[in-house]
């Protein structure tokens, strides 16, 4: 098999991914393939050679994004600050979602128990590690699981994309969620009356 053109192909693939990231980020998944191809400086045919459907391209973007975020998250895990790391991550994610419409899609997918895409699972694992660390540090309740963390994260991110969202509202919303996640100082260690199931 001739491999001479492969490097070109690789470069194109990257260009398309970069363009798609930007465009999907700005306009969401309804952005047109044509616009992406244009921004990538590539013919529409090339785009479809690399990604057989629009959906496939979107998934690839999500994978890319998952890898990047998972990496960042793992760094946070390794940072040795389990107490703040988890909350830091949560805030950061919400902050990003405002401008990166794709983040929401990714988080939603990460919320699925087992994703088809490996990087998404990696992200989920990283979040789980973050959560576990915070729990060990006594900063997050024991009886909270990744599932609801991701659900809450997804939800707040989605909410953050609506008309009236402001930094202030974001702070106030996160304050409530964070308070719900923190161990109740009065009854630390024991589950609340409402919740008795473990993750």
């Amino acid at each position: 098999m001739t491999r001479s053109l492969r490097s070109d192909a690789q470069r194109n693939r990257l260009r398309i991914l970069e363009a798609a990231e930007v465009v999907f980020a700005m306009k969401g998944p309804s952005a047109s393939t044509e616009e992406i191809a244009q921004r990538a400086g590539v013919g529409i045919g090339t785009l479809f050679r690399h990604f057989p459907t629009k959906k496939a391209l979107l998934q690839a973007i999500l994978k890319e994004l998952a890898v990047r975020i998972a990496t960042e998250t793992e760094e946070l895990v390794r940072s040795g600050e389990p107490a703040s790391a988890f909350y830091e991550f949560f805030s950061r994610m919400v902050g990003q979602a405002t401008k990166q419409k794709t983040v929401v899609g990714l988080l939603a997918e990460a919320g699925i128990a087992v994703s088809v895409a490996k990087p998404v699972n990696a992200l989920r694992d990283a979040v789980e590690a973050l959560l576990a660390g915070a729990q060990r540090a006594g900063k997050v309740r024991q009886d909270v699981g990744v599932a609801e963390v991701l659900a809450l994260l997804t939800g707040v991110c989605q909410a953050s994309m609506h008309a009236d969202w402001s930094e202030e509202l974001q702070d106030r919303t996160l304050a409530v969620v964070f308070d719900g996640l923190r161990p109740n100082p009065a009854s630390d260690g024991g589950p609340s009356l409402l919740r008795s199931r473990s993750a």
Copy 2:
């Protein structure tokens, strides 16, 4: 083809609204008018006679929904159980959203400070009353405002529409949010360190 004229145009109007509710619920606002008309058992022309624009139809759905929900909510307000009413409402809403994508749109619109549509404002007011009652009863923190309540509600509803959502996950997610909303038993009465502004 089903027939119904004159005063029974109202019946068709209702059928269209019902169909639109279902279809929009399933497919979101990008659902096609044609499909709605079909489901309503009505010609496409009839649909457009009743609602001059797809947007108008969507708004009408939201209005209908807003009226229905606002009414329910006001009943809760009057129920004389301010303690549980607020949380009841919140749960109910999330429960509905799972099957009614439109609820999310409505809540999102309700989140906007002043909506163009009267019923939406009515809903917002009802929620505000519910919240105030719960706060007076000491069941919700004083420093929480409608804005973040609606944001949280919208967020959880949106999250609830994703693949892996289950009753269990819903309960666990709501538990976190509710805990975040409840006054901290240890420091009841005084604002937390994080938040000092009142709604």
Copy 3:
């Protein structure tokens, strides 16, 4: 046969015709039937009961118009001023066309050798009489026929409906046509070299 409602029907017919005249005059034949019915204060069904097709309504309008104009024209014929009457009629028609888009359609139909509609034929006859009078008075060439008169009239009327038309342009255009219609003072009585056919 009961005839009690006939008078109502007649009144409706008239109302529709009046409305149609106005609306077609303003917007031309592409005006919508709905608008006409509305202006007539009549249901769309009533309109179609009286005129089975939009085309039929338009034709009826043309007939109405033909009757009116034919009457006016016959009056001009009887006015005893054959010299000026013909040119007066021509100018008047062009003046009207600017605001009555239907006039053009009528003149076009009048140009057809034998119309299906009697009133249109009557109009044609009246114009012919006008022309004959002017020719007898020596104010219009002998070798000019109704056909070309109507063609010219239609043409100028149609031209008058375009963007840049002004009173000045109208005068200048009519001046040329009228000069072409007048007998050549130098060679009066004999046909020009170019034209030898008689009407």
Copy 4:
């Protein structure tokens, strides 16, 4: 289905233009884009790729036509026969209009003082040159301007599209107009009583 790509997109463009010319000629500007695409043997998408709007297509037709006619007209100007050239042009134009409804639209646009489209202005200029030549040669009155020439031309062309038009009628109509344009042999050199303004 016929295929032709890349540089041969030009061929498709031409085919669409040709089809549009024919279809618009037959049915006027209300002809459907679908029919044009069909006649061109091209998908509707292709049509819209070449002309983003129906209006744009129509304008392109007019431009094409304007260029073609302007070229022909300039040739007539250069032919060195100013006497006959002007009348030749006028007759030719009317002859074409019978089968090309678009010619009328073009002439109408040319009648507007300054068109948006360059080719239309070029046509107008060419007609002006033709007229000036004929006037210098003493074959057309000095006090006639392009405006009324184009109005007359437009008018006769429009009239020529109606049911009963025949070659004979065309000759007779043009004879009148041409006579109106020619200097009055009896008063050659001086303006007529009716008109005193010069073009």
